[in-house]
């Protein structure tokens, strides 16, 4: 009986040399005549431990060693790591680590544990039970379960998924579509990538359930080109699902047809906006559409379309297998279930932390993150991607909840948290927000296309101390205009980082230069 060794193939592990480590372990085991089986998995989400090598003990407990470099491998064998031996890199039983055990992994329960391309392991770990349940239900009952669970769109807008699905179900059409938005472009977010690389069948199952619920037979996953590994993983998983009969003309032997195609984006951040994404899928420039009509009624190729984020679809199998109430029992207020939080930037222990809504930012950053990587004090935290607000350290006791964040002028977005230490120049960050908006604007509406360019110029002048008051007044005016008059959230939310930086960190915006000039 060979010993099973698990090594992640997630991009976060590959980026730290996981392939070389796997190769070295194989070579060393052969040289020592030891029988091992190497299984490449997704990531557990503990980025600072990657590559995290796990060895399965006799009772199935998995002992972790990380971060492992190729030069550590010989020493690990010398320390009998295959038998759970003591070594400086040892972290003990992985699932007993406080960082890991404190989480509620409903969506990411399998990620990092199983071979992402084995449908057999997927089923053995509880996969496909949601789809089995959905196949025994009427479409209305599936939609009702999703509504009752309280699941809200995880892409950022937080719109109730059940209501969207109900609209599509009620629309009469010859063809309907399920579109998964995997254009995860927000800085500080990587949950979609991790799920697609580590447990792609969960996404496939969730999309298939959505297809059954609304009467759609075709699905698309639109993946950004900056994620080549996620794209390859999805293509491979779709192939496996097809040959296993999960996808195809008879889903799990039922009379229902559903199939999925993975599509690659081409480096346009705006294609994460749902209507620009639909245009891109149709083969056009990724230009935002005016709403209405809603995509739920006239979406892809003008047909009724469910557009949801990866994490929204990936939450659905649990809801169907364990029941809407089991999911809704997690969370607070109108934010039900769990949120896969992504902690990044200048932080000691970053990664993916799935928790019920309601945990505070400070708990996440201090308890899970362990403070900054640089060891310097935290100065600012950006929540919700490049269009999210910058929060000063005295606001970190806010709960992660759609409404609680909105109440302080911030937003949850896709759940990304980026930590900055006291070396950050907030004026630079505010100017970058405008520059990013300009670089990635689709160009359709004037407030976004021109406003972002003028905003960056005016800020630059203010920072230099040129007509500071006038230029800051112009920035404030542009922010109001962009918020009120942009066609989509790209221009409409860019004022968030700009205004929050100005409000909380005014000392960075040329006050000193202005004083010196006087």
């Amino acid at each position: 009986m060979s010993i099973r060794v698990f090594i992640p193939r997630d991009a976060s592990a590959l980026a730290m040399g996981a392939d070389a480590v796997a190769g070295q372990i194989k070579t060393e085991a052969e040289a020592r005549g030891l029988a091992i089986e190497i299984i490449r998995t997704g990531s557990r989400g503990m980025a600072w431990l990657e590559p995290l090598v796990e060895v399965e003990g006799a009772n199935g407990t998995r002992f972790g060693y990380g971060p492992v470099a190729p030069r550590d491998v010989k020493g690990l064998f010398d320390a009998f790591f295959l038998a759970g031996g003591v070594h400086a890199l040892g972290v003990g039983p992985v699932e007993e680590l406080p960082w890991f055990r404190a989480q509620q992994r409903l969506t990411f329960g399998r990620c990092g544990r199983i071979d992402p391309f084995s449908i057999h392991e997927y089923r053995a770990a509880g996969g496909l039970r949601g789809l089995d349940a959905a196949l025994a239900m009427r479409p209305e009952a599936i939609v009702e379960a999703v509504t009752q669970s309280g699941l809200r769109g995880r892409g950022g807008a937080g719109f109730p998924a059940g209501i969207k699905w109900k609209t599509v179900l009620g629309a009469a059409a010859s063809q309907k579509y399920i579109v998964c938005n995997a254009d995860e472009g927000d800085s500080g977010t990587f949950a979609d990538r991790m799920l697609m690389e580590g447990d792609p069948f969960t996404l496939i199952e969730g999309m298939t359930i959505a297809g059954l619920a609304v009467g759609a037979t075709k699905g698309y996953v639109y993946i950004r080109s900056e994620y080549p590994h996620a794209f390859a993983a999805m293509e491979r998983a779709i192939e496996v699902a097809r040959s296993a009969g999960v996808l195809g003309p008879c889903v799990l032997g039922s009379p229902h047809a559903f199939d999925i195609e993975a599509r690659l984006g081409a480096g346009a951040y705006i294609c994460g906006e749902e209507t620009a994404l639909l245009e891109s899928l149709e083969g056009k420039r990724g230009v935002v559409r005016a709403k209405p009509p809603l995509p739920a009624l006239q979406g892809l190729f003008g047909k009724p379309t469910v557009v949801n984020n990866v994490l929204t679809f990936a939450a659905v199998p649990f809801i169907l297998s364990e029941g809407a109430k089991a999911y809704a029992d997690y969370g607070m207020g109108r934010s039900r279930g769990t949120l896969p939080v992504q902690l990044g930037g200048n932080v000691k222990r970053g990664g993916l932390i799935e928790l019920a809504f309601g945990v505070t930012l400070r708990q996440i950053i201090a308890e899970f993150g362990g403070g900054t990587r640089s060891g310097r004090p935290i100065r600012a935290v950006q929540v919700g991607g490049p269009l999210g607000a910058y929060l000063p350290s005295h606001q970190l006791d806010v709960a992660l909840d759609y409404e609680a964040l909105a109440a302080i002028g911030a937003m949850l977005g896709h759940g990304g948290i980026v930590v900055f230490d006291d070396s950050v120049d907030m004026a630079k960050q505010a100017k970058f927000a405008f520059e990013f908006c300009a670089a990635e604007s689709c160009g359709k509406c004037t407030p976004c296309r021109i406003g972002a360019v003028r905003g960056a110029e005016a800020l630059e002048s203010a920072i230099k101390g040129e007509k500071r008051a006038e230029n800051l007044a112009l920035v404030a005016d542009l922010c109001t205009l962009m918020r009120d008059a942009s066609l989509c959230a790209h221009g409409g939310l860019t004022p968030n980082p700009v205004e929050s930086a100005l409000r909380h960190f005014p000392e960075d915006f040329g006050a000193r230069a202005a004083l010196a000039a006087e």
Binding site: D186, H229, S280, G283, K284, G344, V347, R373
Partner: protein, 163 residues
């Protein structure tokens, strides 16, 4: 990058024909052409337009909208450096300066490698990060970036053998 073929009309037509019946085929076709030739030749525009029943202007519009599509060949090593907020918090901008000052490499296209700005690679807890000819590299610093610019294999850099 040795598997890239020189521009060839017949091959391009075959690539287009294999994909043109997909729904909304323009992006898959343009990606396939770029993968085959390393860029999208001007001569491909009328071929794509013809296959998809679009005007040349529409194909040009799509081609010029997306950051990924290249109009000229560039055989240099491609380093896509993340310059979004999470990597900013860990000093990616000093790496941009380092590349310019010490190697004459800029995101505007100068130098011995093709340095490109990207916004987020999903490696936000291990920045600064880059993709080097498609291979992810985390925890970049000046030494690692120099090694990559000087042509060191990615595996060697990841193993800490760049010096």
């Amino acid at each position: 990058m040795s598997d890239i073929a020189p521009w060839n009309h017949t091959v391009a037509q075959a690539v287009i024909d294999a994909l043109k019946d997909r729904e909304g085929a323009a992006l898959p076709i343009l990606h396939a052409l770029q993968e085959c030739f390393g860029y999208i030749d001007e001569a491909a525009v009328p071929l794509v337009a013809e296959a998809l029943n679009l005007s040349r202007a529409e194909v040009h519009g799509v081609l010029s909208f997306y950051h990924d599509f290249r109009r000229t060949p560039d055989p240099r090593r491609r380093i896509q450096l993340c310059r979004a907020e999470a990597c900013q918090s860990l000093g990616c901008e000093t790496l941009v300066q380092h590349a310019a000052v010490h190697h004459g490499v800029t995101p505007q296209g100068r130098g011995s490698v093709r340095l490109e700005t990207v916004y987020c690679l999903g490696l936000c807890a291990q920045g600064p990060a880059a993709l080097v000819d498609g291979a992810p590299v985390a925890r970049l610093d000046a030494g690692r970036l120099s090694a990559l610019i000087n042509g060191a294999p990615v595996e060697a850099v990841l193993a800490g053998e760049e010096a």
